[in-house]
Amino acid sequence: MFDNAYEKADEAKQIQRAQKEIHQFAVLYDRYVQQVYRFLLARTANVAEAEDLTSQTFLSAIERLQTYRPTGHFLSWLLSIARNKQIDHYRKHQRQIVLELDENIAENQQDLVNNLIQKEHRDALKRILSELPEKDRELLNLRLAARMSFTEMGVYLHKNEDGVKKAYYRLLERIKARVEGNLG
């Protein structure tokens, strides 16, 4: 999320403090809880599951904090835990990962959405999003849901930052073209 060295160093110190005193973890929690939650919400499309998995993620992070070595990519580490928790969750419940949008959530957002885009436009976008392959959806989740920087996305995906950036913008172009094609 932050790319400059000063912020990274500051976070590294904060993590070291949290490793010594648990209440110091509050700063990290406050910084990242919404990103982790949104990331899980995007992947589960279910508020209750996203909350449950967010809880599991942070409780697990607290347990493993002593083994974490500050590398400047704490959010990537948290999201890796979150992703594994979600995979475990679906494995236990023997469910396929549902990637379609939850209508309830969509309905809750309807007013806001209507203020921003027309209904037809929105429906086309939703349909296109639901048809995206997993790797493309992951790019959107990391960028738009978890609000990751391209540097962090590169770390999380084990890919080159520039490559991730290009892939993301190409994906946006493809989605735009499809929306225009659908509406045209």
Partner: protein, 248 residues
Amino acid sequence: MDNLCLDAFELELEKAMGLSDASPQFVQSLRRKVLNPQKSNYWRCPLVWRVALVLGLVMSITFFAIGPQNVVVAVRQWLGQYFPGIGFIENSETLRILESPVSVKSDGVEVSVQWAYTTEEKTVIAYPEENDTRICQNWLVYSPETRQDIQTLALGKLVLPDGHELKWDHNGGYQPVPPDIDDVILIIYTHKAVPDCPTDVSCRCMDEDQRIEIPLKFVAPSQGTALEIYEMQFTPVVPTQTLEKDKE
């Protein structure tokens, strides 16, 4: 939370994805939970691990309370004694092994019994490997009971000095050799294949004279004896006549 600059289209996408922040109530509730963990990591373990941990602790305490040497003795008594090539022998006090490998030559064939043992349950005599090509080249082992050529000496006869036969029980061995008897005789039958035997005619009629008697002597092994893995060997002896012909 966010210092990323999203353009209008990205914002549209974000809305279409149905994303929203977590409720303040949830965030506060989880904050308390994370910063004040009520239970230790141990009790977050799955039940099966907890049970395994408790069992392991109980076993360790018992092990050290009884004494490691006593436990080893008890386990050895329970499992029996392990002999390489034989395996664990229950009640190894009753185990007797072949004193030494025995070889007998008879009418062009040499038969060696390299290892055998007897316990209070059974007597086991080694048998040759199935792919041992030395068997059945010139001479075959024949079982009078099954009237078939065989590759296992276990189907021979095992008799005591008084002529009493120890039966083959098909459970992996003969009847045990009585504890007061150490010497037994293994009898196997051989016959020479007839090269020009007509079809459908048995050319392998057995004769008591074609039997080989192999004396076996069983002794108690010394404690801790490491036995080698022995296998029975058949060594067909090249007939003298053939050798003489070769020389000519």
